[in-house]
Symmetry: C2
Subunit: 224 residues, 2 copies
């Protein structure tokens, strides 16, 4: 939702250059990882001098934070749209996988190795909660009222308040949303990191099989 109302030519130009800086930054990250991101290199690619970028970002850290924010927002939008489309957990899962495959390093910037000492700003945390909300929405419709609530699931009682802006989800739906998140992330992150290469099966099938454990009422996840 960009401000498309009134905007001066200068504002439009600024937004455009900012966008190009980010785009080049993503290309660098895709090539050399997040630690290989260099302001001077970006400037050179754009035919600018290094200091010129300081008109658009306060520095390297602010640029990276902006990238992380964009990544979260992009994922939050995608998952919300899929969830609202009524396609349930299946739709959300395929949206998630497509989003991850489209740019693995972007996925890892969100869910990969944390850099020690870094703390995301509050608005980014809010986006993470928004993703959780969408997952809960999709989980609620997939969860029957009479699902057994025992063990760990019982411990989730009353947690809807804290997560996701007071989302009123029953424990079984919370449990399902958590399983959705951890199981699909488990498959996706190992797939994107290449840990399945040479094993002779299609990661898409493993992903589908794990998804089935979350949607099929029969399948227990040990087969399927």
């Amino acid at each position: 939702m960009a401000e498309t109302g009134t905007s001066t030519p200068r504002e439009r130009y600024r937004a455009q250059v900012r966008a190009e800086i980010k785009q080049r930054a993503w290309e660098q990250i895709a090539t050399a990882g997040a630690s290989g991101l260099s302001l001077n290199a970006i400037a050179k690619q754009m035919g600018l001098s290094g200091p010129a970028l300081y008109r658009y970002f306060d520095g390297r850290d602010e640029l990276i934070t902006a990238l992380i924010r964009d990544a979260y927002r992009s994922l939050a939008d995608a998952v919300r749209t899929a969830s609202a489309a009524g396609t349930g957990l299946t739709g959300a899962a395929h949206t998630l996988r497509a989003w991850a495959l489209a740019d693995p390093q972007r996925y890892f910037l969100v869910y990969g190795t944390p850099v020690p000492g870094y703390h995301a700003p509050d608005d980014v945390t809010a986006l993470a909660a928004e993703i959780m909300t969408s997952l809960l929405d999709a989980s609620v419709e997939a969860t029957a009222q009479d699902d057994p609530v025992t063990g760990f699931t019982a411990r989730l009682e009353g947690l809807g308040r804290r997560w996701a802006d007071g989302h009123p989800a029953p424990p079984a739906a919370l449990r399902r949303a958590l399983a959705f998140w951890t199981r699909l992330h488990g498959v996706l992150s190992l797939e994107l990191a290449g840990h399945f290469t040479g094993m002779g099966f299609d990661p898409a099938h493993l992903f589908a099989a794990e998804l089935a454990t979350l949607t099929d009422r029969e399948d227990d996840g040990r087969s399927g």
Copy 2:
């Protein structure tokens, strides 16, 4: 299994210094991530000049590769021991979790964000296969002969040959080993990255619940 047979004092000294370099390297990685590893900083910490380290490692890349190798070997040993102890998947799971919590950045060096273009040497790949073998061992005993073999599991037929040095595991055990890996990694990596903080539940319980989906014959993983 270090060579403890015949060794001259010089050899022992060399091994000791090499070990100290690695230890300092791990400390740096724990503090600033793998990208923050600096040979000169390690040398300074040890009261040596920078070039002195070149007596022990060919350079930065070789040091990092040695760390990755050690991490893999450590994990392979831990999982093999747990698997051989007859405690089954439960024992292997708790060993894995303890290993991960002991040094999160070490875990991420193995299973975290891949650095684009890096390819592990063959002996490291062999260690990864060794881990898979131990997981298969533990999975075989946990898998009943009459487990249903359908869907994705059926596609794993005949894959034992390729993985893990021709391990003769039935498809249901392969499926179980994969689920063990992806599900526990899913929980562990999100936990270590801090994605559960502030959510009001104990990650250990979520880990246990996911483990239960792999061992309990009743629980379908949506509760428990």
